[in-house]
Symmetry: C2
């Protein structure tokens, strides 16, 4: 599976486990609200600084986003 | 430490362990030769697709790049 889609699925899984909406996650991660749907669909080629923001917002180590 | 610099240090460490030059790693990863120095210095905000290419070239799982 494409790495962007795999990453998006992981973000969505963790977000739902935490009971966050896409907008809630965007707020926690200081990302634009419109950015999360594209990430979860695998349309965004996220950068390492965005990956870090998502990890912090989801309270996991960065490596856990690649399990 | 900045996530880009931490990532760059890890790439350099693994590259040297494998006895690869910066150019050799660029070739293995199908990246432009000039790209690796910037990554190792922490100047590049690498994307998830580039992270995947580096992991494949260094023969590690992506998560190991965030240890």
């Amino acid at each position: 599976m494409d790495v962007k889609k795999k990453f998006g699925d992981k973000i969505k899984k963790l977000r739902l486990e935490r009971g966050l909406s896409q907008e809630g996650l965007a707020n926690e991660a200081n990302l634009d609200r419109t950015y999360i749907p594209g990430i979860e669909k695998g349309n965004r080629n996220v950068s390492i600084t965005v990956i870090e923001k998502l990890a912090i917002a989801l309270k996991v180590n960065m490596k856990e986003l690649f399990d």
